[in-house]
């Protein structure tokens, strides 16, 4: 077990708390940077997709895991990011600028949705965001003069500083860099008073208000941040798809994003990465498993969504903290060995709380 002797408050503020952190994250960075040399094109593409999911997941995690506002409509922000980016690229705007514009447009729409949905919480908010996503999908399919509707929209090839990004490894490094930047920005928010205000709103709106947190401002801000980051993922997703049409951004995508956050572990950024790996690679694992399973099972229709659903139910029942929560328990088992007891992580009783005052 590691004992940290803290001598400065900076040690609580820094992202990397100790030598172990620096070593393991450094190693991870070296490994993902070296991945293009070791992996074939297919798996590199899949890893690229996982990282795109992870970026969207960071955005959704800020909203769901840290601000406590459930959204079932994040596919809409993905779509807005994707279409904005593709349309601007098509109009000859340089790659980086159109990327930034995609983020800003999504954030702006997100702020609008957040502002409208201010009075709603829980299931009502989920339904409102769901309605917004359907509205967006419909708008995109009807606005044929802009988006091409169901005929689709070809995504122009990206190029950075005059260098076309056509190879798989180039896209991979681009996504990797953006994921790292996004994660750092999100973690920065979380270690400052803005992030703490979000956490405060998640845990108790009434006392958040009483310590001077303006609920309207911070909820809208959380929506904007979340939507902006998801819009960035959308822009990258557009290049992955190559051809945009409204049916690429259905309710299932929203659900998958939420699933990623829940399975990974609500309330942790590492959970996002675990969740993204899960969402990204489960279809591959299923495809491999299909070859070995008897054909009656392997060819059954709806096998994939069925297994997704089953896993979601099992996670919520048996490990509400997701993969990240399970990892913490495994870690503390070894740290405390042989003193770990089953009760160590039993959920504590909650005491009576003030009834909702409004």
């Amino acid at each position: 077990m590691r004992f940290l002797f803290k001598t400065h408050y900076n040690q609580d503020i820094d992202h990397l708390k100790h030598g172990g952190d620096r070593f393991w994250y450094g190693l991870l960075l070296v490994l993902v940077a070296a991945a293009p040399a070791a992996l074939d094109t297919f798996y590199l593409g899949e890893l690229n997709l996982v990282m795109i999911y992870a970026i969207a997941g960071v955005g959704l995690m800020l909203l769901v895991g840290y601000t406590g506002q459930v959204s079932l409509g994040h596919a809409a922000f993905l779509a807005i990011g994707a279409y904005t980016h593709s349309l601007l690229l098509g109009a000859g705007v340089p790659f980086l600028f159109s990327l930034v514009a995609a983020v800003l447009v999504s954030a702006l729409v997100g702020a609008g949705v957040g502002w409208i949905a201010l009075r709603m919480t829980g299931i009502y908010l989920a339904i409102a965001t769901l309605a917004f996503a359907m509205l967006t999908e419909q708008t995109i399919s009807r606005a044929e003069w802009l988006t091409g509707g169901f005929r689709g929209l070809a995504v122009p090839q990206p190029s950075l500083f005059g260098m076309p990004l056509t190879e798989g490894w180039q896209r991979y490094y681009l996504t990797l860099a953006l994921l790292v930047v996004t994660l750092l920005l999100a973690l920065n928010i979380l270690r400052s008073s803005t992030g703490r205000a979000m956490v405060a709103i998640r845990d108790s709106e009434i006392s958040a208000e009483s310590v001077g947190i303006n609920l309207a401002v911070y909820k809208t801000l959380a929506f904007a941040l979340s939507a902006g980051i998801t819009g960035l993922a959308g822009a990258l997703f557009a290049h992955r798809l190559g051809y945009l049409s409204p049916d690429a951004f259905t309710f299932l995508i929203s659900l998958q994003l939420l699933l990623m956050v829940v399975v990974g572990g609500v309330g942790s950024m590492r959970g996002v990465i675990y969740g993204a790996l899960f969402i990204g690679f489960l279809p591959q694992l299923l495809a491999i498993a299909r070859d070995t399973l008897p054909p009656q099972i392997a060819q059954a229709p709806g096998l994939e969504p069925g297994i997704f659903g089953l896993i979601l139910v099992l996670v919520i029942l048996f490990e509400p903290q997701g993969i990240f929560g399970r990892w913490l328990k495994i870690k503390s088992y070894f740290q405390l060995f042989p003193l770990y007891r089953r009760a160590t992580h039993r959920r504590q009783k909650t005491y009576l709380r003030t009834e909702r005052l409004r």
Binding site: N188, S192, S193, S207, E209, I213, L352, L357
Partner: protein, 253 residues
């Protein structure tokens, strides 16, 4: 002009006048207690003063400013902090984070600079942390600093909530039943802390309490409520002897 002046404050929920024409004044630097049987309107009165409810009539003035119609998040920065009867902490955050959230009104940097965590933000964070550590020292919370609220016993949560209110560096502190659910030893400690907060930090304290031992020890003046109305006001000894108060608690013959 007194520090906190509540004038003819009223609010109804449906047909019930929960707070009915209540007036009282609190002077700067005193400890003022509000007592009354269950349902007397004590907590509702607190919710009206701290901006969680808006009154049907009457006014609240704090430090010379009319705060009657200000929402809670605009009252807190004026120097008014509160605790809750049933504890409203941020359950899934650590004690340290809870106390840091209490520093919210003292933030100076913008969300954009937080995104980039500019050097100025780090300096500000260090400053917040230093102030929070002062509160941790005062309330002897060092042992629990890194623990999540969800894992803490009730008595410690009660103290953390007072700590969070202190992190606002308030001028006026509203304590809603600071000793309810505490054992005698913890109540004793809470009494000392309230005295310390009042005397050493110069914070004016208004508290709702049932524990008459605590009230007579720390409070200078007491206001007794029953069914939303003021029935007595004065020194703890006088109010305890007041026939209307005795009737309210024990019932008239």
């Amino acid at each position: 002009m007194s520090y906190l002046a509540v004038t003819d404050l009223s609010i109804s929920f449906g047909g019930i006048r929960a707070v009915d024409d209540v007036s009282f004044e609190v002077e700067e630097g005193e400890v003022f207690a509000i007592i009354g049987p269950n349902g007397a309107g004590k907590t509702t009165l607190f919710n009206l003063v701290s901006g969680i409810y808006f009154p049907d009539g009457g006014s609240v003035r704090f430090a010379g400013r009319d705060i009657t119609s200000l929402p809670a998040h605009r009252i807190a920065p004026l120097g008014l902090a509160r605790t809750f009867q049933n504890i409203e902490l941020f359950e899934h955050a650590t004690v340290l984070q809870n106390l840091l959230i209490g520093r919210h009104v003292h933030r100076r940097s913008t969300a954009l600079s937080h995104l980039l965590f500019l050097p100025a933000v780090r300096r500000e964070e260090l400053e917040h942390r230093r102030r929070v550590e002062d509160v941790i020292d005062l309330l002897e919370l060092a042992h629990y600093r890194e623990q999540r609220i969800a894992n803490l016993p009730y008595g410690v949560r009660k103290v953390v909530e007072v700590g969070r209110a202190l992190c606002l560096e308030p001028k006026l502190l509203l304590l809603d039943e600071p000793t309810s659910g505490l054992n005698p030893e913890e109540s004793e400690d809470m009494g000392f802390w309230i005295e310390d907060i009042n005397r050493d930090l110069g914070v004016t304290v208004v508290m709702v309490a049932h524990d008459m031992g605590l009230v007579s020890r720390v409070a200078g003046r007491v206001l007794a409520l029953n069914e939303g109305r003021v029935i007595a006001e004065g020194s703890p000894a006088d109010v305890q002897k007041n026939p209307a108060v005795v009737d309210a608690y024990l019932g008239a013959d």
